[in-house]
Subunit: 163 residues, 2 copies
Amino acid sequence: MEETPSIKYEIIGYIRTPFTEKKGTPIQPFYSSADGLIDIFPQYGKGLEDLEGFSHLILLYHFNQVRGFQLKVIPFLDNKERGIFATRAPLRPNPIGISIVELISTDLKANILKIRGVDVLDSTPLIDIKPYIPLFDKLDAKTGWISETKRESQESIVSNGRF
Amino acid sequence: MEETPSIKYEIIGYIRTPFTEKKGTPIQPFYSSADGLIDIFPQYGKGLEDLEGFSHLILLYHFNQVRGFQLKVIPFLDNKERGIFATRAPLRPNPIGISIVELISTDLKANILKIRGVDVLDSTPLIDIKPYIPLFDKLDAKTGWISETKRESQESIVSNGRF
């Protein structure tokens, strides 16, 4: 049996969004045109330099409203139970979320980034920001159970508040 | 001043790769054709169900060999200092890595996934697996400082061991 020590991360700032309850929050940036802010703690501000030329950011954040986890969930895009690692649902063993948002502008004096396409609750704790790089991140891929479902709905897909 | 409690995550398994030292390890899956395994602890195995139809996985993992962080680094793709959040370098405030790898096969009885395009050291602790979904993740984007540099090299770009 291998050792499994826990990993400890620090919050580096908060994501400010118009969404104050799960119900009605878009489930992905693809379904969101909402603006938001990334509010970084001053001690990490210098790390935001050189972001201004990137059009998209990968945000890693903590689903701080989630309690516990499930190994099988019915995802919003489906009506059948799926393994949690085959979904983006928040009820994960480690409740880390990932969203690719559009970077609108940077205010490095205030340690604030203006972003678009937010899909998280207001005051979600931020863990990391990475630049989206098409060379590494833009891939053709097959999508398993999602191809069986109606995924490219014209209407916005939002949370029903289940999780 | 807002409260900044730490966040605690559990290791869910390990990534097995042919790379035992930083020097020579590919810096991104794009530069790697190496095979590897994801070895999930049995208690999380059920969460791997339904992954088999996906061709690519997003792995989140802990850079466990990194000590401390820098807010400005010279990334492997450049010779100038850049803000850490505008790079994929490991010396981040929270040393979380992200790699999009190809899923070759699943062995749900053994809780093992065979993957291709690994770019991490052997026995890297895994935190999360998410399916890569082109609808959400395949984007056209501008890439800031990276467009100034020679990024689409024919030869493989590997770590020189700096971090």
